[in-house]
Amino acid sequence: MEFLRFLLRRVLWSLLVLVGLSMVIFIIARAVPGDPARMALGPTATQEQVADLQKKLGLDRPIVEQYGLFVVGLAHGDLGRSLLTERPVNDDIRDTFAATLELVLATIFIAVVCGVPLGVVAAYWKDRWPDNAVRLVAIFSAVTPSFFLALLLQILAGYVLHILPTTGRLPPNFDFAPGYTGLVLVDSIIAGRPDAFLEGLRYLLLPAISLAAATMGQMARITRSSMIDVSSQDYIEASRAFGVPEWVRVCKYMLRPSFVPPLTILGLEFASLIGNAFVVELVFAWPGMAAYGIRTILQKDLNAVMGVVMVSGVFFVLVNLVIDLLVGLVDPRVRIRGSRQ
């Protein structure tokens, strides 16, 4: 029950974070020296056109009322209309979000599945060559800009080896479009299309690796230090005294208590992962929300930009709620005490 209360508290805090986030975004968007409608329409538009758009978007009302409308819209899941296309921002984001979601999920999967075992290996052979090797990999993956890694992978896999496609999400004119979930890998399984699954995977691989590298390095690093921390605990010494075999000690008794810090970091650094997704999507022409965001930013489409930032924030908050839940599952202390400390 403490755990439920803990989760409830986290949900409430998350809502508060979202309210704060909406304010920050609104302030930035309205801090424009100049008129959003004018900016969107460009210098050639007539005064009437600008006034028209202002009215349509509610820009002529008092600022507090505008914020009120913005929040009411958000609460209904309505992000307003694009200043340029006048299409609902929702529709644009819905079309692009699934691609980003698929990329980010694949990234987290790669980062955790590679990073955590690397950290375990490094901790187990602390200060010996596997540890040094992992530290080297972790440092290099942390300091390689993801757009640069993306370019390098494109050159290597795309131009030199010709083994993987370098742009897009599926081959051009491919007779499969993701439906139910919007995720190619999931929808292709539902639709019973192994060929589409394989194609989707081939296209996903390079962007996901480029994006995962930094997080993977971080996971390896944190897992390592967390494992080393736990390995000096009395209970590990005790299990050794009772003759519990080494692999059980490492993979069960040490790994599970070590799992909370990497999970926490994954949540905290998720924002910078989304940030990197912006560049990676651009390099690989991945049809995601980030690519949409950049396009709208360059076109100074403020409503769309606000929508993109807000959705990134919601994404961040949701991922962190899932992580809270996972932390509770991994560590009974959180469940029983109802707090992270």
């Binding site: 605990q233 590990i236 010494e237 005790a238 299990s239 005294a241 003759g243 599970r256 009974p332």
Partner: protein, 281 residues
């Protein structure tokens, strides 16, 4: 006394840290005959914990290394026997009660999980087999033996749900799982309040006497020595400075250091000792 159950012969251990080698045990010898209750007493840093870890095979090597000596158990040298053979003894026939009930249990697994895992691998090393159910039964049985009132509930619990005293009993139960002949106790209960510690020591003493186990009590507390042992070894700076039957030691300590230790025990009655002896240099 080579017929002792456990016999440490002339054990020397050294540590290498920051590129320098430092001896920490200088030829320690001690005997624990079967069914006897022996105490090893010394202040922190005296080498008693290193001795205990050497016996249990818990030294991390490196930085530690055993430079000379032998540890005989049942007449066989633990240090030269094959690893497999040694693992058949440690944690099963010679077992250990850990010191700190707060930190010696894994916080993220249930008591039942931790105990039955220990049992499972102890069985495996000894070439026995038991079903999950039988293991669970044994766990509950042992929990009941350490006077746990609701063994089922305790088994289902995570350590954080239990009091310090209960956790300490769980640690004792863990040591008893595989019916040991020798129990090494590392200052059990020091982390607990005095009343609970007294209960734990009483329980330990009762269990050891009921089953005719040999006990090696490692402690810095002479009160505990008097309560639980018949024979004492006093350690100081990696050397056994004095050994004697408990009663004799308290009546007539031979070494200045032992006298200092005895004088350091707080008394509730009587005047301070007239002549305080300074600790040995």
């Amino acid at each position: 006394m080579s017929d002792a159950l456990l016999s440490v012969r002339d054990l020397s251990v050294e540590f290498t840290t920051y590129g320098r080698t430092q001896p920490v045990l200088h030829g320690v010898s001690l005997d624990v005959p079967a069914r006897s209750h022996v105490a090893l007493v010394g202040e922190s840093g005296s080498g008693k914990t290193v001795t205990m870890k050497s016996i249990m095979g818990l030294l991390h090597m490196p930085p530690a290394s055993i430079s000379s000596g032998a540890i005989l158990y049942d007449g066989r040298d633990l240090l030269t026997m094959p690893r497999r053979e040694r693992l058949k003894l440690t944690g099963t026939d010679m077992s250990m009660v850990f010191q700190d009930p707060m930190s010696s249990l894994n916080p993220v697994f249930t008591i039942a999980d931790q105990m039955s895992t220990i049992l499972k691998y102890a069985d495996r090393r000894l070439g026995r087999s038991r079903s999950r159910r039988e293991r669970m039964q044994r766990v509950l049985e042992v929990l009941a033996q350490v006077r746990m009132r609701e063994p089922e509930r305790v088994a289902r619990s995570y350590p954080i749900m239990l009091s310090g005293g209960m956790r300490q009993r769980v640690l004792i139960a863990m040591a008893l799982l595989s019916e040991p002949r020798l129990l090494i106790a590392d200052e059990p209960g020091t982390a607990l309040d005095v009343t609970t510690q007294a209960q734990i020591l009483k329980l330990l003493k009762d269990l050891v006497e009921e089953r005719g186990l040999a006990l090696l009590m490692i402690t810095h507390n002479l009160g505990v020595v008097r309560e639980t042992s018949d024979y004492v070894y006093v350690m100081h700076k990696g050397v056994v400075v004095e050994e004697a039957p408990t009663a004799e030691l308290f009546a007539a300590p031979k070494v200045a250091y032992t006298r200092a230790l005895i004088d350091a025990v707080p008394r509730l009655t009587g005047a301070r000792p007239a002549e305080r002896t300074e600790a040995a240099p």
